[in-house]
């Protein structure tokens, strides 16, 4: 949501893939290239781009850099920041700067990492060079249904404890399963309380071995159904439901409020139980989608924006979930950023000294607070110094 008086820069037409270098395994991109288009272009060389947010058909690499996006495969292949080589950026003064370089490290401070995930507060990304990965020889998905969220959560812990790093490990609860299945018709077990999708990739022997180990673990934890993809079409179908899970919630409710918190994996059962208590308290349904491998939880609170009371309850419900995430040792955002929405929770997460530091960084890049005004960093009412900042950085 832009500031009411701001000018919007739309970069979606800057969508040319400038270069794919199969030898160096890199791609040079304009900022409006969609995430999926990178992998499609790289496919001709047996390569792909690792981070795959569920929005990959629509979201841009510029936006991915700004949000440091992850995806179902970030457990093994990392977030955007781990897959970048070089970012070209326009500073607010209009100066073209290049951060990073052709190699894995470059002299001086790692400003590219600082800019990645800075939510458009520090500059405008105008070109991105990403690393490409070789397509794995084999990739298969193990899908398992469970009678309880707790059993599925324990199974996730056991997979990681066994030393296996799946390419992706995702969990959905009953409402999410229902909505995703309605759209994707992927054959998800609709009676299950929780669903796990675990992708294993590598050489054929490695994958066979891991599929067997994971299947055993799921069975030991009482899986009520089990299916292993037999080809890439089936694997894609199993992911399709998961990747469409957010908007598929639109089938159950006029609106949903998508939350994004990160919690320690060991806390998942506890947090989901608390969320279901909050759901009863606020009288709003809530579906849960979970990047189980890395603890990134997406509760989807269902409400009707036509009813102002429901909207207010949904906002309070969401705020409670974020506070809960921090209380169990987690974080208020996994991959969707802070923006305007989570400004109020920033002080719960960070100390005043830390917030101060954030402001200083913002000042160093953009002293007049021109870029994405009002976002990302809260103006602390209790802090004199923050109150002295230009009003421009505030929305009210």
């Amino acid at each position: 949501m832009p500031h009411p008086e701001s000018v919007l820069l739309g970069l979606s037409k800057l969508n040319n893939i400038l270069e794919v270098d199969p030898k160096a395994r890199t791609a040079r991109l304009q900022p409006g290239v969609t995430n999926l288009a990178i992998s499609e272009a790289a496919a001709a060389h047996g390569l792909y781009y690792g981070p795959d947010p569920s929005s990959q058909i629509a979201c841009s690499i510029g936006g991915n850099v700004a949000e440091n996006s992850g995806g179902v495969h970030c457990l093994k292949y990392g977030l955007t920041v781990h897959n970048l080589l070089c970012v070209e950026m326009l500073t607010v003064e209009g100066e073209r700067t290049t951060l990073g370089g052709g190699g894995l490290d470059s002299p001086g401070y790692d400003l590219m990492a600082l800019v990645t995930g800075s939510e458009g507060l520090l500059g405008i990304v105008t070109e991105v060079t990403v690393k490409l990965l070789p397509c794995p020889e084999v990739a298969r998905v193990v899908m398992a249904g469970f009678d309880s969220v707790r059993a599925a959560g324990d199974a996730v812990g056991a997979v990681i404890a066994a030393g296996i790093i799946p390419a992706g490990l995702e969990m959905m609860d009953a409402l999410a399963i229902q909505a995703a299945e309605d759209f994707a018709q992927a054959g998800y077990p609709k009676e299950a309380q929780a669903l796990l999708l675990c992708e294993l990739d590598g050489t054929a022997e490695e994958v066979d071995q891991h599929v067997e180990a994971v299947t055993n673990i799921f069975n030991q934890h009482g899986a009520s159904s089990l299916r292993v993809s037999s080809d890439d079409a089936e694997r894609a179908l199993l992911w399709k439901g998961r990747k469409s899970a957010f908007p598929a919630i639109g089938r159950l409710s006029a609106d949903y409020y998508c939350m994004d918190g990160t919690i320690p994996r060991s806390q998942v059962s506890h947090v989901l139980e608390e969320i279901s208590k909050l759901s009863a308290k606020y009288q709003l349904r809530c579906a849960n989608v979970f990047h189980a491998g890395d603890g990134n939880l997406h509760p989807l609170i269902m409400f009707d924006s036509g009813d102002p009371q429901q909207l207010a309850r949904a906002e309070r419900f969401g705020a409670d979930i974020l506070e809960l995430s921090v209380a169990v040792g987690g974080c208020i955002t996994g991959e969707h950023g802070v923006g305007l929405e989570k400004l109020n929770q920033m002080p719960s997460q960070f100390s005043e000294a830390e917030l101060h530091q954030f402001e200083d960084i913002k000042h160093a890049f953009d002293p007049a607070l021109t870029l994405n005004p009002g976002k990302g960093i809260p103006i602390l009412k209790r802090c004199q110094e923050y109150r002295a900042l230009p009003r421009r950085h505030s929305h009210d």
Binding site: A58, A180, F183, G250, R251, D255, Y256, D304
Partner: protein, 408 residues
């Protein structure tokens, strides 16, 4: 997404329905990448989500101008966005309502209105289409190349089966198809005859109503539908087991009769029955053993163009590929199958340059694997692609027709 209807529309059933339809959209943007017009212009207002927002604005503000109309006019009604939408948005229905409302809220100038009126009046009358086409074909040799390509060569349909089979089905003859590609219906009749089915035509039936309805002339469109129902009813009562369409554009309208006429106290029940009986020719053949047909299979690689109406409206994206593969043909690889060829009913006439760009893209996507020919399942796409294609473009049913292969 909630729509707060403008007080002007509080008694308007169409506006209320539009508001309900919009509530399915959660503005996620996943449909944008599959929208041919958004890919063409990169303008959010030429995307499904952009158009939904423009219509939301109309419903909430009680007015709309030429800008809204322009972006809605550019929409192909291909419904690729519906296939992509995880939230179950029924965009096609919304666009139809929106077009009807815009005809009142943002009326066109007199010249454009007259042109559209003539287009509707001509295209929805099979006899008129045929007469114009015959005249064109007569003078075709004298025309400059550009115009020449627009007029398809006259087809020889070949002899129709004479025997009476134990099973009967009704056929929708269609307006453009009966005049421009009569071979399609004849081939379908011959193939079904081999399978023990007689295909009958009700002479009073005519255009399915799509031309009028999709151009926002709802009441004329509904009249076309009622007339067809009247023409078919006696034959349905006499035991016809299905109504067969061999143009998916028309077929996708037939399946909507029940929905579109649900508030018509006289026709609602009959319309529902007609929609239930309607099947595309592919639907009938997909379960039949076609290996027994005496046909030539060694014709090179075949590139299948699946019309939008078949994949996004009838939701049968692979059916023709399946039939042809089972019948023993070799299929060519194609890409971007979900994107429209630009024909889209009257779109190729009303949005010419945009339509030509989409056709160019489509022809390239269909020919990545050097096919020997292209087949489609809808007369509009077939003619539109054929106009520019270097290789032949046919209706797929012709490949299964024994007579076609005997050189007729």
């Amino acid at each position: 997404m909630h729509v707060e209807l403008h007080p002007r529309y509080s008694d308007n059933t169409e506006a209320k329905r539009a508001g309900e339809l919009i509530s399915a959209c959660v503005h996620c943007g996943l449909c944008l990448a599959t929208c041919p017009t958004y890919l063409d212009t990169g303008d959010e207002r030429d995307s499904p989500r952009g158009r939904i927002y423009l219509l939301k604005q109309l419903l909430e503000e009680g007015e709309a101008g030429a800008v809204t109309r322009t972006h809605l006019d550019r929409c192909l009604s291909c419904r690729s966005c519906e296939t992509a939408c995880p939230s179950g948005m029924q965009y096609g229905k919304l666009a139809d309502i929106g077009r009807g409302m815009l005809n009142i809220e943002a009326p066109r100038g007199p010249v454009e209105r007259l042109f559209r009126f003539s287009l509707r009046q001509t295209l929805s009358r099979p006899a008129l289409v045929a007469a114009l086409l015959r005249t064109g074909q007569l003078f075709r040799p004298l025309l400059p190349p550009r115009l020449k390509r627009k007029i398809p060569l006259r087809q020889t349909p070949g002899a129709m089966p004479v025997s009476t089979q134990p099973r009967t089905m009704l056929a929708l003859s269609g307006c453009v198809q009966s005049a421009a590609t009569p071979l399609t219906h004849a081939a379908a009749a011959r193939v079904l005859d081999r399978l023990g089915i007689s295909l009958k035509i009700a002479s009073e039936a005519g255009c399915c109503g799509a031309v009028n309805y999709h151009l926002g002339a709802h009441s004329d469109g509904l009249d076309n539908m009622r007339r067809n129902i009247d023409a078919w009813w006696p034959m349905i009562e006499a035991g016809a087991e299905a109504i067969i369409s061999s143009a998916t554009g028309c077929g996708s309208t037939l399946v909507e009769y029940g929905d579109l006429l649900q508030h018509d106290s006289v026709y609602a029940a009959k319309a529902k029955r007609v929609s239930a009986l309607c099947r595309d020719i592919a639907d009938v053949l997909v379960d039949e053993d076609l290996t027994l047909l005496n046909i030539e299979r060694d014709i090179g690689r075949v590139a299948v163009h699946t019309p939008c109406s078949q994949q996004h409206a009838l939701k049968q994206p692979d059916i023709v590929n399946t039939i042809l593969r089972r019948a023993g043909f070799t299929l060519a690889k194609t890409r971007d199958d979900h994107l429209c060829c630009g024909s889209a009913g009257t779109y190729s006439i009303l949005q010419r340059s945009r339509s030509e760009r989409l056709r160019q893209r489509k022809l390239e996507a269909l020919q990545v694997d050097n096919p020997a020919l292209i087949v489609s399942a809808n007369v509009g796409c077939q003619l539109h692609l054929d106009e520019e294609s270097k290789i032949p473009v046919k209706h797929w049913i012709e490949l299964l027709d024994p007579l076609t292969h005997q050189g007729h």
